[in-house]
């Protein structure tokens, strides 16, 4: 049986400068994997390479046995992606339901028309994420937390096998963060979705992370969070950091540095 994610010796460069180098790891079963590292560590680059959006200098990637560089659209049919919100042009007056329907229509062939089944799925996802009341509101007028939920709905509506979230908590209130975390957890355990979350702050996710990748151009460590989150590993990733245990709950404090 194919691994869900199989990355071997992956190196990606921009302008001949390696952004990620010799990355190798496998994910054999559905789990919540958090990719952690400082700004510029190559986290988003790794995600883009997994989806076949960037060609590597060397190495290979397989998603459910499919090569995303030779068959990118096959892989993207299996993936739900929540991008960083600052890349989105929020001044374009698309309504919430239009943004969510992107998640279905982009995976169809032309003429891309919503079927009755698609409309029912929209209703379900709006209820699942508590977005019914705001489905006709322009996306740009929502709060950060609401926008993030809408993007999550867009990613989930196609019932992906892998859910990828890129810095999902930037500019999002604590209540919305907790809500999103609960939904992601239920997807993992109820629907067996593999989840990959990129973040620079592990603390909100420490309770649900089953697998942790420390990244700073190279793969520093991979494993269970409590095994990987040591001060030695944090020093290699961030240049320093403290791990604090309070009533058996682990918190990490790292400095705000740029990658090496």
């Amino acid at each position: 049986m194919n691994e869900i994610v199989d990355v071997q010796d992956l190196t990606v460069s921009y302008n001949k400068e390696p952004v990620i180098e010799d990355i190798s790891f496998k994910l054999n079963e559905p789990m919540i994997t958090v990719i952690l590292g400082p700004n510029g560590a190559g986290k988003t680059t790794l995600l883009k390479a997994l989806m076949g959006m960037i060609k590597p200098d060397k190495g290979s990637v397989k998603i459910f046995g499919i090569n995303p560089f030779s068959e990118p659209f096959k892989v993207r049919q299996l993936v739900g992606y929540v991008p960083q919100r600052d890349k989105i042009i929020r001044s374009i007056p698309l309504k919430v339901k239009d943004v969510i329907s992107m998640g279905i229509l982009t995976k169809k062939t032309w003429p891309r028309i919503l079927s009755k089944e698609d409309t029912d799925r929209m209703k379900k996802i709006l209820e699942f994420l508590n977005l019914d009341d705001i489905s006709n509101k322009p996306f740009g007028q929502l709060s950060g937390g609401q926008q993030q939920k809408v993007l999550l709905a867009r990613a989930l509506i196609s019932e992906p096998k892998i859910l990828i979230l890129d810095e999902p908590f930037n500019g999002v209130d604590i209540k919305s963060q907790s809500y999103i975390i609960e939904k992601v957890k239920s997807l993992r355990y109820t629907n067996n979705v593999t989840v990959l979350i990129v973040t620079h702050d592990i603390n909100p996710l420490i309770d649900i992370a089953e697998n942790l990748i420390l990244l700073n151009k190279n793969l520093i460590a991979i494993g269970k969070p409590l095994e990987v989150l040591t001060e030695e590993m944090l020093a290699k990733t961030y240049g320093g950091g403290k791990v604090i245990l309070i009533q058996d709950r682990c918190f990490t404090i790292t400095g705000d540095i740029h990658a090496k």
């Binding site: 883009k48 989806m51 959006m53 659209f73 993207r76 049919q77 993936v79 992606y81 991008p83 890349k87 989105i88 042009i89 001044s91 374009i92 007056p93 698309l94 309504k95 239009d98 943004v99 992107m102 998640g103 229509l105 982009t106 995976k107 032309w110 003429p111 891309r112 322009p138 993007l151 867009r154 196609s158 990828i164």
Partner: protein, 274 residues
């Protein structure tokens, strides 16, 4: 005073309708994609194409050469800007336009001195146009181009809007954004030439971007954004035309002033009503 049923006026009115339809494409797409000056700048590149068209006309007497080559230069300039924007980011789009314009306008500068005066007038009509001098042939070219642009927009509306809204996210979701992004830039170039034929490249900004900017202030949905751009361009066009008949002022200039006044009125009313 000129009769409203004179062929000049009727042609001008048809030209305004076609120009407004083109503004619906060029103005809104430029603003949605975040390259607000694109439609205005790439239509200047049409001058180089029109100049080459004049040379061709001198040799083989193909009348459509002016418009077709103007269209080609404008479209290719827009697509080149798209290429640089995709590669280097939106900040580099200005440089891309500058480079392409430099090439096209230097062709214009060379050729304009080589062609007879009557052909110079035809070439320069892409820079400063008189809507009252539109011919049936001009309107035919404009109509075919505008209809082609509208058909493309209708068929690929979702794809183009998604590409503008979230380029990377849409690609990750499975859409081939490269095709639709280049299509967007090409449509802006193509539609811009229709507007340039109506009011001249110097005033494309006034008929395309200013109505789109006004529409943006009023719309809370993308379909309304398109519709209001068309309506405001049409209103500016017809008001400018009829005013020019009454007070005997150049029509294109009045259209531009009316469009600007409408924008100022909208933003003033919006500010004071807050």
């Amino acid at each position: 005073m000129i009769s409203l049923t004179s062929p000049f006026i009727i042609n001008a009115m048809i030209g305004i309708i076609l120009g407004s339809l083109a503004a619906l494409i060029a103005g809104t797409l430029s603003m949605l994609r975040g390259v607000h000056y694109l439609s205005a700048e790439v239509t200047h590149a049409a001058l180089g194409g029109a100049a080459i068209g004049a040379l061709l006309y001198e040799i083989v007497h193909i009348d459509s050469a002016f418009f077709i080559l103007a269209l080609l230069f404008s479209m290719l300039t827009a697509m080149f800007t798209g290429y640089i924007t995709r590669k280097e980011g939106i900040e580099a789009s200005g440089l891309a336009i500058g480079l392409a314009l430099a090439f096209s306008l230097s062709i214009y500068a060379i050729v304009i001195g080589l062609i007879p005066a009557e052909l110079q007038i035809r070439v320069n009509s892409y820079l400063i146009a008189d809507i009252l001098l539109l011919t049936q042939t001009d309107l035919m070219y404009m109509a075919i181009t505008a209809m082609f642009g509208l058909l493309a927009m209708f068929l690929f509306y979702n794809e183009v809007i998604y590409t503008c809204f979230d380029l990377e996210g849409t690609e990750a979701l499975g859409l081939r954004t490269t095709i639709y992004d280049y299509m967007l830039f090409a449509l802006v170039g193509v539609a811009g030439v229709v507007i340039a034929k109506a009011v001249g490249a110097l005033l494309v900004f006034a008929l395309a971007i200013v109505p789109a900017a006004s529409a943006k202030e009023l719309s809370n949905s993308v379909p309304k954004f398109f519709l209001y751009t068309f309506v405001i361009a049409l209103l500016s066009g017809f008001t400018g035309l009829f005013l020019s008949i009454i007070i005997n002022f150049p029509t294109s200039g009045l259209i531009a002033i009316i469009a600007s006044i409408i924008y100022l009125m909208i933003i003033t009313i919006k500010r004071f009503s807050k």
